[in-house]
Symmetry: C2
Subunit: 549 residues, 2 copies
């Protein structure tokens, strides 16, 4: 959480300012930096205010794959990605219950449809401009599939993903690279970056236009910054505001891996300025290690890659209930199945269990893996020399947290059920086919399968029989957020809209702090950052057309 | 929908008014009428503004059971209902994932805990005052169980439910009775009732206090009404605002049985006045007839009582997936189980199927039953002389709506699967035990079982074998709302709070237009109206302590 407390978000009027710029950007992650850069390149003076003590936000923790439909390299190597196909794929996954391929808006609202079109049209130009200017050079990952590559609606299942050029071969540190290059370019190009500034509210003029912000510094000072053309918020979602999580999200997550400064500031500041909220119920989701969330561990990273072939998830009774290798956004949903007859979330916490083979060959400190090597904090790992031992230790670990997870308890007969579950899974592993949950049947599951023993292997690389001999290991998992998707609604130009759909003059928003039309979808790796760059580009272009106030 | 269009909710300043009163109440359902009456009895002058052309709102469509913990009659007949027990029951069901019986607030937030305590402490005094004054006399339904009577937390499983005294023996028309008696009393006691007035926004003074409202009349006139002490909103939830449903609710409902005027007006008006929103993700839920929702039928009533013993629900493949007799709030959840591996709601639409026995003996026009007698609109009923006929007709009916329900289609092998399903169900019916879903094992399921043939009967009165001979009948069902539970947050006194928890002077809210701390719970029949009367009582008492502005 920020060390600077939240105060009233009610807009104020004032005529004296401590500083001014054409464009004031709030937030120093990818969305804010890109908006600042695009604005600066239009010739605007720019101040960027970041609440944390350094730039980066959630971006810095991310792999920074970015999903760019019909990008330059797809065109160069002859991968066709037609607009109508791409929009169909986006719509199908965003609101499956409303998707209608024959409708002019594919069954989506006009706003949703226009948002998808804006992503398709602008992600590539935005990306190319950032690359041309040297702010964010990239490499093309033509081997990376979309997360729903097997859907008939996906006509370009590979090729849409880019990565910062100098990221590791394992592709996990793109966020650090991007923040380094974009931040460096921002400084070089004369953007006035001020960290440790928490924006509390907007400043409004008599005509109702937003003409600046008030920010508190760590030293207890409040400063006012005038924005002659526009204020652009890019402050991230509300993952770390417990009350907003509870009161808006469709499922009761315990936390997530967004930057700790993502406390939903723009939900309050935006609504206080008259904005309408949209898509508040959905989030970018991923499984997380329960204990890291409950212990408020700032190093928490989503479990993007559930490594381990001799590894399964079981519920409190010892049964498998899901395909462990589902892409993270989908896997996280499995924790929130609801039992209306018992009034409980039976899978709220699942137990990952693995053996020495996976511990030895699938451990890694990347992509939030719960199987970690020596030297990495493993306080979340439960151990047992035998399955009986392990079961006993799982039971006592769950008991420790019971009061915070709805009194969940490991079933009396967990151990024999677990044994039967392992026997069944081992049969699937030997046969190469998971008849219960179809593990390993999609491209994305292989992509995120993680490191594993080179031999011996079973026919399906995501499954190997769990050993009959210990030691064994376990970790408690639950569903969590990367970050949330709801906030004030904007049009595709990033203008924040009021309750009757009218832009609030001078007020813009970009990224996870504003509503995403993706609803429940996670189209592919980088489906966060690709669209964010497109909308940063559009917002900077639109703000550049504003009169100077 | 209201014939008067929504306009900007931004608060205005003004000094000239068309009328004034100590208290201005907005909304003429039970919450508004009760607040108006309690306020009037304190000696305040009261204006009540209702958007529709008549009083009643959702209340008028309701059975108006009201849940009053530790009520006078429970005390009189010796049913013990201790405060700590009752609060534990409320907490356990509201947020099962957070419930902790050992925590001082039972694992709930302080706001939630205080809300439950306020309900326990005030529902009975409110009820008694309304009865004593002759506005709402009641009879005690000591035979009606809570909806989770079997939970160990329910220490007073029967006795908390009251009903307007002159309601029918079948208890279905309490809402009409209550609106008649409360509305009559309001007029008799000098409350200035104005229907056909849509409040658009609040009026604010220089100190930031709410001092009135602006309302549009059907004749295109805008009038300003001054509230010397307080404005109390009681305008209902957002069931009929499609965009709010999509962007806030945790599940994609197609509609609900709230009054058509429940369009979320106070979500906009409240936030524009600086209110914080809470509990936006939850709703009072019930199954609804799909076609009535898609066709926007204002006569839609929730399926509170799924009558028929020789009746089952099956999914698009022909399989049973739920206990058909679950209490309505719980039954509705079954439609929204999510399949993360397919990215779809597999149960979004279920098909109720029954035979001639149920048609003959379980038809009724009450409680939203989908088995209706002759003379009642049965356009939602699909018929077939044989099961093959019925399956064919179900398939074509679903096809008709496919573009609006995510392209759902009846499976190729629906008919043989249905036959196997019926065979299995018939075995359960003969044995009196549903081994798959435990139908009929709870008190509430018997309460809502509805009319049925007196003989022959099977051992479990909720199940009877489905005939081997036609004719057969079917109806398409989905999950829906009674109304929503989210809105601006208030303290237990009904004062609307801003983002930093401070009351907005002069602004109050009661009922489904403000946040309910019940989250996902439906504690019992009347768990809507009992608490609403308690909060109307508290709000009127608090507003009476406001200075005259």
């Amino acid at each position: 959480m920020s060390s600077i407390a939240r105060k009233s978000a009610a807009p104020v009027k004032r005529t004296a300012f401590d500083a001014e710029a054409d464009i004031v950007v709030v937030g120093g992650g990818a969305g804010g930096l890109a908006t600042a850069l695009f604005s600066r390149w239009h010739g605007n003076s720019v101040v960027l205010l970041e609440k944390a003590d350094e730039l980066g936000g959630t971006t810095k923790k991310a792999a920074f794959w970015y999903w760019v439909p019909n990008n330059k390299h797809m065109q160069a190597i002859g991968i066709k990605d037609k607009k109508e196909d791409c929009l169909r794929y986006m719509a199908r996954l965003s609101r499956p219950e409303a998707y209608d391929p024959k409708s002019p808006t594919l069954g989506m609202s006009q706003w949703e449809y226009d948002s998808y079109a804006a992503i398709y049209d602008n992600a590539s130009p935005a990306t190319e401009l950032l690359a041309d200017k040297g702010a964010l050079e990239y490499r093309h990952c033509d081997f990376v599939p979309d997360y729903w590559a097997e859907l008939p609606e996906d006509k370009a299942p590979k090729g849409r993903v880019l990565l910062p050029k100098d990221a590791l071969p394992t592709m996990s540190d793109g966020g650090e690279v991007a923040i380094r290059t974009m931040g460096g370019k921002a400084r070089a190009d004369g953007i006035d970056i001020r960290t440790g500034h928490r924006v509390q509210r907007t400043i409004v003029n008599d005509a109702g236009a937003i003409i600046g912000v008030e920010a508190d510094t760590g030293k207890g000072k409040t400063i006012a910054i005038k924005a002659k053309r526009a204020v652009v918020f890019a402050t991230g979602g509300f993952t770390h505001d417990v009350s907003m999580r509870k009161n808006f999200l469709s499922v009761p997550v315990f936390g997530g891996c967004a930057a700790r400064s993502n406390e939903g500031d723009f939900v309050n500041i935006g609504t206080a300025a008259g904005a309408e909220l949209r898509n508040m119920n959905y989030a970018w989701m991923c499984p997380i290690v329960l204990e890291k969330a409950l212990n408020d561990d700032p190093a928490l990273i989503g479990t993007f890659s559930p490594s381990g072939d001799s590894m399964i998830y079981v519920d409190k009774t010892g049964r498998r209930v899901t395909n462990e290798k589902l892409a993270y956004n989908e896997s996280a949903q499995a924790f929130f199945s609801w039992d209306p007859a018992k009034s409980e979330y039976p899978n709220l916490v699942l137990v990952a269990i693995w053996d020495e083979r996976s511990q030895k060959h699938s451990a890694s400190h990347e992509y939030g893996r719960f199987i970690v090597p020596k030297g990495v904090d493993d306080s979340h790992v439960i151990k047992g020399a035998t399955l009986a031992d392990l079961a006993k230790n799982i039971r006592s670990r769950v008991k420790k947290y019971a009061s915070r997870i709805g009194n969940m308890a490991i079933a009396e007969d967990f151990e024999p059920t677990l044994k039967a579950t392992i026997k069944r899974f081992n049969g699937f592993a030997k046969a190469g086919k998971d008849s219960d949950f179809h593990r390993g049947e999609r491209q994305v599951e292989l992509l995120f399968n993680g490191p594993a023993a080179e031999k011996p292997v079973a026919p399906n690389p995501t499954m190997y029989p769990i050993s009959g001999k210990g030691p064994y290991y376990a970790a408690l998992l639950t569903g969590g957020n990367l970050d949330t998707k709801g906030g004030p609604v904007t049009n595709p130009d990033g203008q924040v809209l009021d309750h009757v759909g009218k832009p609030i003059a001078g007020l813009y928003g970009v990224g996870n702090c504003v509503a995403s039309a993706s609803a429940r979808a996670y189209w592919a790796g980088g489906a966060t950052l690709g669209p964010i760059l497109a909308f940063a580009y559009l917002a900077a272009n639109a703000a550049n057309r504003e009169p100077r106030r």
